[in-house]
Symmetry: C2
Subunit: 144 residues, 2 copies
């Protein structure tokens, strides 16, 4: 009897190449492993991490999620859900919806902030001295 592992030759890469293939840094990969988002398939005799092509895809998935600013905790959840193919995916939808909401909130906050900063900026003419600076004066007055 021959095991799949011994009969099929799989190309394994070290962490540096995995990093290049995915555009992640080596440290990120080790960090994802520590955070249980990514498993190391096996180690070389010298204890180097070795990965197969499935791992490359998993890491790309993680990277895609990160580019959408999903937290590592959320990504961990998505990976877990992904392993329950038969279940409903309402949880996935809920997560994304809530994320959209968070981002919308943050955009609004920043927009308010932007308005305040612009108003503040108009309070000082460039040629002024620190003593007369409208910005510093405004900042010294507490807001209602």
């Amino acid at each position: 009897m021959v095991t799949i592992e011994s009969s099929i030759k799989v190309r394994l890469v070290k962490i540096g190449e995995l990093a290049k293939l995915t555009g992640c840094s080596v440290q990120s990969i080790r960090h994802y492993e520590k955070e249980k988002l990514l498993a190391t398939l096996r180690r070389s005799d010298g204890n180097f991490r070795l990965y197969d092509s499935a791992t490359v895809d998993q890491l790309k998935f993680i990277k895609h999620c990160r580019s959408l600013d999903l937290s590592l905790a959320e990504i961990r959840q998505l990976i877990a859900l992904n392993q329950q193919p038969g279940m409903g995916c309402e949880d996935v939808n809920r997560m994304i919806d809530s994320h959209i909401e968070q981002v919308a909130l943050r955009i609004n906050e920043l927009q308010d902030l932007q308005d305040k900063l612009m108003a503040l900026r108009t309070s000082c003419a460039s040629q002024s001295t620190v003593k007369e600076c409208g910005i510093l004066q405004t900042l010294s007055v507490s807001r209602k």
Copy 2:
């Protein structure tokens, strides 16, 4: 000869009252002190921090700056500038301008993110299973 300090009675408050007066947390105040943004006027016999009303104003200034998301380093700079009343205030203007730019950049980033999240969200109908979930499928495909 009588010093000003001994002849005029100043109302001094402890850190808890300073916190109430300004809406800052006690820990924040201690943190600002460690970061050299705020000095403690003096200590009680029992080593409690004591503050006067000028400190209340300084802390309000800091709080106002923080509400505009200025970093502690930037605030430290503003405080230093404030102590050079005769100098031009171009540096103040520059700082605020650069801050406005940063915020604008961040808003744009978040807006892009929002668009991507919305697109992602439409890829899954709520009644689907994990296996068929368009969101998970989309996330599994690396972006161009």
